[in-house]
């Protein structure tokens, strides 16, 4: 039974910070905006307006993605463990209330695996939908997104990713959707569990580990779908910076032009929803046609890696 993702509903605030301002505020290693723009392709990062709330972005995206569907489960993939909501365990009840769901619909936060949480949530949803006894019409709502501006000190991941505020949502079902789920793979390198307490040497090794592990999970995801690198039309990237993808493409012997980096200068990194934002933008811009295969890639601090292969389906 084939499982598919719906089109992606995105919510990105209109306000922007300059990447260099975010770096300076975090007291990261000094770097000027020209270097950030020219080499890393990092220019701006979205931020919530003063009177906007992150939970509204997430649940608005969820409501749009659901339409008239009633999911049997909601998975919220998030990176940050302290959020501007959830202090009173209110996220589940609030999500059910705002999305019009019954009280017994489970709502799980999926986290502690860094920015791979949303793609992992999609894999969990796939397994749920094909479990023994599952009803064919069941749907799972996936929510994603974090408020990077809540903690300016954690907003910049050296060297360099600048994390912004945004949310995404989509629905997964059997035999219905825009992107057929073909395969996925996860990896980890837990030497880097110290996260923001990593030494400079650990940060340097983390960069090298990211390149090799991204290559590994890409190949593993393709193998799980019985595909090869040459079968991939697009990589929808984790949007840390352009240098990372030059390194990955060199190691993969993959054309950098097939990595969808159009959003990188304007949005930078948005935690677990980078690849979904790229997928949505590419589709909305008419760059995707049925039959194309896209690799969605995420990297998480800790460190974790996830790649998922989807195939674009014709519009119903």
């Amino acid at each position: 039974m084939a499982v598919a993702l719906s089109r992606i509903s995105m919510r990105v605030p209109t306000e922007r910070d300059l990447a260099a301002e975010a770096v300076a505020r975090s007291r990261g290693p000094a770097i000027d905006q020209r270097l950030l723009s020219r080499v890393l392709k990092l220019e701006k990062s979205p931020r919530l307006a003063a009177d906007d709330r992150m939970i509204d972005l997430i649940l608005d995206a969820g409501r749009e993605a659901l339409g008239d569907l009633r999911p049997s489960m909601v998975l919220y993939g998030h990176t940050l463990l302290l959020q501007p909501f959830g202090h009173r365990d209110e996220f589940g009840p609030m999500a059910r209330g705002r999305l019009g769901l019954a009280a017994d619909v489970p709502v799980y936060g999926i986290s502690r695996i860094g920015c791979t949480s949303v793609l992992r949530a999609a894999d969990l949803a796939r397994r749920y939908l094909v479990r023994p006894g599952a009803a064919r019409e069941e749907a799972v709502l996936i929510l994603g997104g974090d408020q990077g501006t809540m903690a300016g000190t954690l907003r910049v991941i050296p060297p360099y990713a600048v994390c912004g505020d945004a949310a995404a949502a989509f629905v997964m079902r059997c035999d219905a959707g825009r992107y057929r789920f073909l395969g996925t793979a996860a990896g980890r390198d837990t030497r880097f569990h110290r996260n923001a307490r990593m030494t400079e040497d650990e940060v340097r090794k983390f960069g090298a580990s990211s390149t090799s592990n991204v290559v590994k999970v890409i190949d593993a995801a393709l193998a799980s779908a019985a595909l090869k690198r040459c079968d991939v039309d697009w990589i929808m990237p984790h949007m840390a910076n352009a240098v990372m993808w030059r390194n990955v493409c060199r190691a993969l012997r993959f054309d950098l032009d097939k990595v969808y980096l159009d959003l990188l200068p304007e949005l930078g990194h948005m935690f677990g929803i980078d690849a979904l934002a790229a997928l949505q933008h590419a589709d909305h811009s008419g760059r995707l046609v049925p039959g194309q295969r896209c690799l969605l890639v995420a990297v998480g601090q800790g460190a974790f890696f996830q790649a998922t292969v989807v195939e674009v389906l014709p519009e119903l």
């Binding site: 463990l81 009280a103 974790f304």
Partner: protein, 286 residues
């Protein structure tokens, strides 16, 4: 009741930390634009115990803590003078790791799942990859589950019913350690329950729920927080009184929510299980 699976509890272990170090945080800045300007001043004026932790953990940690405190102040109605923060232990001990170490490595590769509503105790590091790294167990998949609140210890059973292949099993660690609390609501202890699920254990998971009734049962183990009744079930296993066929409800609850898990003793336990150990007590250096 929700779902039935072939899942059993094969073993469990408990770790507790009595009198956990909750520190007053003093008057901290809430304007992010002024964070770095006032950081040193905050550290100098901080209560003595907190000042020692700042010196140990460094400026970067202090900056993250101030931002977290600012967010907490904005979203939780606890006045700064009575706000308390759980401190990182000097020896870095985590009750989650202590409970898992007491449980021991699984016989075969299997997933590891961490159920915890709050952020990691060290806000600058990551607990789950640390557990995977330091335990060096054969972990096939690691995952954290959040936003289940105080019913997490039993609500997770519903997810396990479809996520876990009973032939492979899974290790689940449930952690209760509130990070920010009011001075008059300090927990007397932190707790962690490590559960090994599989197909061959003496305790069969029959179902779970957050509403409704679990029906007639022989024993009902109840407690606050996500670990809730698992702690009393563990205690009962150490003082054997459960019999084959007994139906047990494990409840986890908070003020306004509750969850329950229904369990049946598959066979006469007839004595303390071989794997049973008293709770690990995390003490000493803070």
């Amino acid at each position: 009741m929700k779902t039935e699976s072939e899942l059993t509890v094969e073993a469990m272990a408990v770790a507790v930390e009595d009198g956990p170090p909750y520190l007053p945080v003093g008057e901290f800045p809430t304007d992010p634009e002024k964070l770095w300007e006032v950081l040193d001043e905050w550290a100098e004026r901080a209560p003595a115990e907190l000042r020692q932790v700042i010196e140990r953990m460094g400026t970067g940690w202090a900056a993250v803590v101030i931002e977290f405190l600012s967010s907490v102040a904005a979203h939780i109605d606890i006045p700064k003078p009575v706000l308390r923060m759980l401190s990182v232990r000097a020896d870095g001990t985590e009750i989650a790791e202590a409970a898992l170490a007491a449980l021991g490595a699984p016989r075969q590769p299997q997933p590891l799942l961490l159920v915890q509503a709050t952020a990691d105790r060290d806000t600058t590091a990551m607990l789950l990859p640390r557990l995977v790294h330091e335990l060096a167990w054969p972990v096939t998949e690691e995952l954290g589950v959040t936003h289940l609140g105080c019913s997490g210890g039993t609500a997770i059973l519903d997810m396990l019913a479809w996520w876990v292949d009973p032939r492979v099993g899974a290790t689940v660690i449930i952690v209760d350690q509130p990070q920010f609390v009011a001075a008059d609501r300090l927990p007397e202890r932190l707790s962690a329950v490590a559960l090994r699920f599989g197909a061959t254990g003496p305790l069969e998971v029959l179902g779970c729920g957050t509403e409704g009734s679990s029906g007639n049962v022989d024993y009902r183990f109840t407690g606050p927080g996500a670990c809730g009744g698992w702690l009393d079930l563990h205690r009962a296993l150490g003082n054997p009184r459960l019999r084959g066929g007994d139906r047990i409800v494990v409840q986890s609850r908070a003020d306004d929510q509750a969850g329950w898990g229904l369990i049946r003793c598959k066979s006469v336990i007839g004595g303390r299980p071989l794997w049973w150990r008293p709770p690990v007590r995390v003490t000493g250096s803070r």
